[in-house]
């Protein structure tokens, strides 16, 4: 009998403990919620808008002046922005979430949204954010933007009737030369002259050969293990006259062309001839960052921030920015830029929407935009903020040829772009791994990409 009673007690404890464990958090949350309600009731007037700010954890956005201790890690800056905004707007509570887009994808935010954790304000790359605009999740905030603000923005970045993002900065893609390695190889004269920074593919190959495998460094490198930094490769394609889309028409790709075949043969030829680091399909942009700072590559397809990294390297070295090469008889390639901006997700509550737009303007405004732009060695998208942007002489040179050659439209505004770039990755992997020749790979790419774009 005693055994039976004991067994009953143990069984009850097990069952109850299971349910208690399950409901523990609920109870805690309820208690917390009750406390929060009481507090909220006390300050009914003060705290009534809750916003979720999601932002890309840019690795350069650390150690902001005046906030050094609070911005030690990538993504911390969003908590600081939220805190500062709340000081000016005490009726707002902001939950800041940093997004880690390692690999270049949108996995983390997709999962958050699928789990019902929808952002109210999103700071992210145009290539990724366009996906959510395509899904109809982002507000058109054109009504909130004054003519003065429109005029202040760089042309073509804001839109007119439909404004789904406030641009924060643009980063041009360029070839960044380790000038010290060229000097050691006695090949400085093979680089384009400072007054134009342009060169042909023949001149480019000659320069690569002059520095390749000297001073324990490869001349350059490509990478195609994942999508990260894929836009840094587009300049090579445009230099042969290839392009992904025809003048803003994102309904079908026009990439399958003789120009693209020529460009891909050129790039693959460099790999086969050993003029790049081996095995691009096993490399990512992380490898490029590491090899750049270790002076293991002489020319990096990259961004202006590489200049800063060169200065911070164990053995600092001089850099020189040049445009991507162009084939003989072809114009200089337009400059690829990728931009980050701030978008407001669809809102049902007008007060919340107003506050979300206010927060978006605050992030892209004069308090934070210059600091964020300067930390990333990027370019401002607002004319009025340009005087606050600290461009180096090399940065100014890039701005010069960017103005001369124009900006490349590689489809980043297309709502399908985040999936389209997977097709580009597949194409590059087929070619670099020798699975297919450029002609066949391009045919397959055209079919697959157009199927995607028409879905």
């Amino acid at each position: 009998m005693l055994k039976r009673i004991l067994s009953a007690i143990i069984a009850c404890i097990l069952v109850v403990s299971f349910f208690t464990a399950c409901s523990k958090k609920g109870e805690t949350e309820s208690t917390a919620a009750a406390k929060a309600e009481t507090t909220a009731a006390e300050v009914t007037e003060a705290k009534n808008i809750k916003l979720k700010l999601f932002g890309y954890a840019n690795t350069n956005w650390v150690n902001f002046e005046g906030y050094e201790f609070k911005t030690q890690n990538a993504g911390d800056v969003f908590s600081v922005i939220a805190e500062e905004f709340t000081k000016e707007n005490p009726n707002v509570e902001i939950e800041a979430v940093a997004i880690n887009a390692a690999g270049g994808g949108t996995q983390q935010l997709d999962t958050e949204i699928a789990a019902g954790n929808m952002p109210d304000v999103l700071e992210d790359n145009q290539m990724r954010a366009s996906k959510y605009n395509g899904m109809g999740l982002i507000e058109n905030i054109a009504a909130y933007i004054t003519q003065e603000e429109k005029d202040d923005c760089l042309p073509g970045l804001l839109g007119n009737d439909v404004i789904w993002r406030l641009p924060l900065f643009v980063t041009p893609q360029c070839l960044v030369v380790n000038k010290s390695l060229f000097e050691k190889a006695g090949a400085l004269d093979l680089l384009p002259k400072p007054d134009n920074r342009e060169w042909t593919t023949d001149e480019f190959v000659k320069a690569l050969k002059a520095v390749n495998k000297k001073n324990n460094a490869y001349s350059t490198m490509f990478w195609a293990k994942n999508q990260s930094g894929d836009a840094t490769m587009f300049g090579f394609l445009w230099g042969f006259g290839a392009k992904f889309f025809e003048a803003g028409d994102y309904s079908k790709t026009v990439f399958n062309s003789p120009e693209a075949v020529e460009a891909l043969n050129f790039m693959n030829g460099l790999v086969k001839d050993g003029l790049t680091a081996p095995a691009p399909v096993a490399l990512t942009d992380d490898d490029m960052w590491a090899m750049w700072q270790d002076q293991k590559i002489a020319i990096a397809p990259g961004y202006p921030v590489l200049e800063k990294l060169a200065k911070e390297a164990k053995e600092p070295f001089e850099v020189y920015f040049v445009n991507y090469p162009h084939a003989a008889g072809k114009p200089n390639p337009a400059v690829t830029t990728f931009g980050e901006g701030v978008s407001v997700f669809k809102q049902t509550d007008k007060d919340k929407k107003d506050m979300a737009v206010k927060l978006a303007k605050y992030i892209t405004g004069e308090k934070w935009a210059p600091a964020l732009v300067n930390k990333g060695s990027a370019f401002s998208t607002r004319k009025s903020l340009s005087p606050k942007i600290q461009l180096t002489d090399e940065g100014k040179a890039v701005a010069g040829y960017m103005e001369k050659n124009g900006l490349m439209d590689f489809g980043a505004n297309s709502p399908k772009y985040s999936d389209f770039r997977i097709k580009i990755l597949n194409l590059m992997q087929q070619i670099y791994s020798g699975t297919k020749q450029p002609v066949d790979a391009l045919k397959e790419f055209e079919t697959e990409a157009n199927k995607l774009l028409s879905e």
Binding site: A11, S17, A277, P278, M291, Y432
Partner: protein, 296 residues
Amino acid sequence: MFNRAGVLKEIKKNRWGYYYIIPGYMIFLFFSLVPMISAIRLSFFKANIVRESWNGIGNYVYIFNDMVFIKGIKNTIMYAILIVPSVIILSLFIASIIYPMSNRLQSLYRGVFYLPAVVGGVIISSVWVWIYHPIHGLLNSILQLLGFNPVLWLADSKIALISICITVLTWNTGTSIILYVAGIGGISKELYEAAYIDGSSHIYSFFKITIPLLKPVTVFILTTQLIAVFQIWEAIYMLTEGGPYYGTTSMVYYLYQTAFVSGKYGVASAQGMILLIIIVAVTLISLRVSKQIGEK
């Protein structure tokens, strides 16, 4: 014939046992069964991160017309063919070397071989990323020191697939070694003594006594390894991200990409259902074959 009253009586008789397992079954219900049923439902819907609409068998038609999914199935079968026999042979070989050692040494080696299984696939894979790295990888550095050309361990799809198998073996064999050591310990020593008296060699005894008597352990390892390999994911994610050009993509890795990169949750659920059917079928076949071999 089904005797309802008898079953109820049996349940009543053993009711305390059922009460004890309620917490475990609750966990299974909420964290396995409900998501599984939800996935079955979702596989008939066109669903992304925010919307879903009825799609009938559309997702199933879609995946069987998707060449990457078919490639994922082929690659997964290849992983199973390469990894499962390797795990069995390697772990049996190591276990037979470890078993005759002293207790202290046996424990040491069991711990050493089991350690990678404790550390986890992601950590082990990230170490192998650097071992295989095309520029500053350990393997290529050794090859070059010995005067050989470097090998593109992760850049050639055929070699990359084998590279992944080697990586998986480093953490998959530990558990099997422990199981085999325990299994060998359970074989009566008298059988070996009788065999030696009859003039049997060590190798002959190994093949005629050890291997046949380890059949239950081997069947268990075969089944669990098949299930594990059909769910291979982390090594691919860390080492190749499915490339080059889907050359190493497995079914589960592609399922992950479909769901979390492309946001096609309905299609991914349909892929999951196919994976479930394949795993159940392969497990049943392996059990049947093992049973037949045993009967012979």
